[in-house]
């Protein structure tokens, strides 16, 4: 401590306890991909968290400018690789808006079934890996076993398990396999008791609740200010789902609920709420799938696919409710077969920004809990 006579201050006020910078590097078993988190610690408490991203940047948006409109679809698959159907869905809807074409009703039903199955699969990964980070390894394996069934349904339809190239502009690439609807119904009946088993094993387990309740509380106004969407926003108490508030495709024909977080184990908007909202959403997706299977009409799925896509000069922004949040596509076309600009509003990218607010004042071990509850996919963050 020294005296500064001229400025009449003492450096005592500027004396800081030693702050440590800890690096949770790009290679870490729990960061769900290549994400670097720079933690500024004071003892065990966290003062600041800075995420460094870009390790998986593959220049998707620049690449689209060299591809024709149908060739962009395999690239959109690879952005959020755990929810590929939804990426394709969003893009197809955007280009169809630009071209002003209407797809047959059977195509709409198929897209909804595929999208909701994909939502269940993506949430299973999120829940399983979250449990594995917390230390419960068994639910991870159970979730993946169930996800395998969904992936084999997809494999039967389009031939691929993860990156489908199935939903095309103006339709879908193949019609459904003749066994598909029966097997999907079997899956829905098989999966409902599995959700209950997951709840028994993990969701209501006292140790899990102790680890996740009151950790990473996201107040509603902070969430809205940061632009958070998806299950994170719903867990903070707001009933906002694009499938009901800005309906696209035929979602207005289905009857389903929007689960929100109610803070029954802690506060509204903590990690447990975010986890539980995802569990409830899986059930609602099953409801939608059942209704769609019952109502699906016959038809030709490839009749509306244009031979050559050359839209008029214009721009469009369209958004869908992906499993991680609002996935938006902004496409500018200049009249040629290649898009002029494709900009993607990636939900994980926007959701990751709030990690600093969530982790302040918690211990180091809670960073992993919070990060798992945000549910990011690095392919989406970096594109």
């Amino acid at each position: 401590m020294s005296l500064d006579i001229e400025n009449k201050t003492t450096t005592n006020e500027k004396l800081k306890t030693e702050e440590m910078i800890l690096n949770m590097g790009p290679q870490h078993p729990s960061t769900h991909g290549v994400l670097r988190l720079e933690l500024q610690l004071e003892g065990e408490l966290i003062v600041n968290v800075k995420p460094h991203i870009g390790y998986l940047h593959r220049c998707f948006e620049k690449h689209c400018e060299a591809m024709t409109y149908p060739q962009v679809i395999p690239y959109t698959d690879r952005m959020d690789y755990l929810a590929s159907m939804y990426n394709e869905f969003g893009y197809a809807i955007a280009v169809e808006k630009l071209l002003d074409i209407k797809v047959p009703e059977r195509v709409e039903y198929i897209r909804v079934i595929m999208g909701e199955l994909q939502r269940v699969a993506s949430h299973l990964v999120a829940l399983g890996t979250y449990g594995a980070d917390i230390g419960a390894v068994t639910p991870f394996l159970f979730c993946f076993r169930d996800r395998e069934k969904i992936l084999s349904l997809f494999e039967m339809t389009c031939g691929a398990r993860l990156l489908y190239n199935y939903i095309w502009v103006g339709g879908v690439s193949h019609d459904l396999h003749h066994d598909f609807l029966r097997l999907t119904k079997d899956f829905v009946d098989y999966f409902r008791p599995k959700i209950k088993e997951l709840n028994d094993l993990l969701t209501f387990n006292k140790i899990f609740i102790e680890r996740t309740a009151n950790v990473g509380i996201l107040p509603l106004d902070t969430a809205i200010n940061y632009g958070i969407t998806g299950p994170m926003l719903r867990a903070s108490g707001m009933k906002w789902d694009l499938r009901k508030d800005d309906p696209y495709s035929i979602y207005d024909k289905f009857d389903f609920d929007i689960p929100i977080g109610d803070g029954r184990m802690g506060t509204v908007g903590d990690s447990w709420d975010r986890y539980y909202v995802r569990v409830l959403e899986m059930e609602q997706s099953l409801k939608i799938i059942e209704q769609a299977i019952a109502q699906i009409p016959e038809g030709d799925v490839t009749s509306a696919i244009p031979k050559r896509i050359k839209p008029v000069v214009g721009q469009v922004y369209s958004r869908v409710e992906g499993p991680r949040g609002e996935l938006g596509y902004f496409i500018i076309s200049n009249g040629t077969v290649n898009p002029f600009r494709v900009k993607v509003r990636a939900p994980s990218f926007v959701n990751l920004a709030v990690i600093n607010e969530l982790c302040k004042g918690h211990l180091v071990a809670d960073v992993i809990t919070v990060l798992g509850s945000i549910d990011i996919v690095l392919g989406d963050v970096d594109r």
């Binding site: 591809m67 149908p70 060739q71 962009v72 679809i73 395999p74 690239y75 068994t138 076993r145 395998e148 084999s152 494999e155 039967m156 339809t157 389009c158 031939g159 691929a160 990156l163 190239n165 690439s173 193949h174 396999h177 088993e197 028994d200 094993l201 993990l202 209501f204 387990n205 006292k206 140790i207």
Partner: protein
Amino acid sequence: MSQYFKNIWSAISTVSIGMKVTFKHLFVPAVTIQYPDVKLELPERERNRLYMNMDDCIGCDQCARACPVNCIEIETVKSLPDEDLGKTSNGKRKALWVTKFNIDIAKCCYCQLCVFPCPTECIYMTDVYEFSEFKRDNLVYDYATLSPEERVQKKLNYEKFEVEKAAQKAAAAPAAAAKKAEESKEAKPENKEVKPESKDIKPETRAASPDNKEATSGNSETKPENREDKPE
């Protein structure tokens, strides 16, 4: 105080429920398939390695244009008007010699976009997924069935034909019919004479076009034909 006892009770009860679930799973048969001994049954629409049937290819270049990663390279030479290349299996008449048809299977992203534009359905995806190689160059599959000498020869033929055509046009019109008759008779023996010349040119062309991988491409050519089934 009651919260204290509630905590204890909920801890014990949830732990026992969890233990019951895990205990039940001890008696559920495993879902693992022991891979190298037992292989999974793949569905019919499975998309793994590409296969291309050269007999049906008309060299239209649609698949190369549809590919988003540019992994198909096609070069064709127009055939001479009197050469007959035969027909494809669905009746189309072939008019182009395909001198180069390389698919770099390491670049392929298995998106299936090349399958749909093909007018003769000669390119399709099979269910072969065990095709790893020790050398990266072995993953460039060469499907063209012409031997390297024939490829060079076709090209030279066509160039000669073009030159002759230009010369004919430059010559007088009334003499064209008679000259054409004579030249077509000369063209046939000329073809046979060209062959020894092409043998001299061989070393240069080999150096000039290094992408003719005969030895390894021959192997990979036979592999797809032997192992795969055609889809429905």
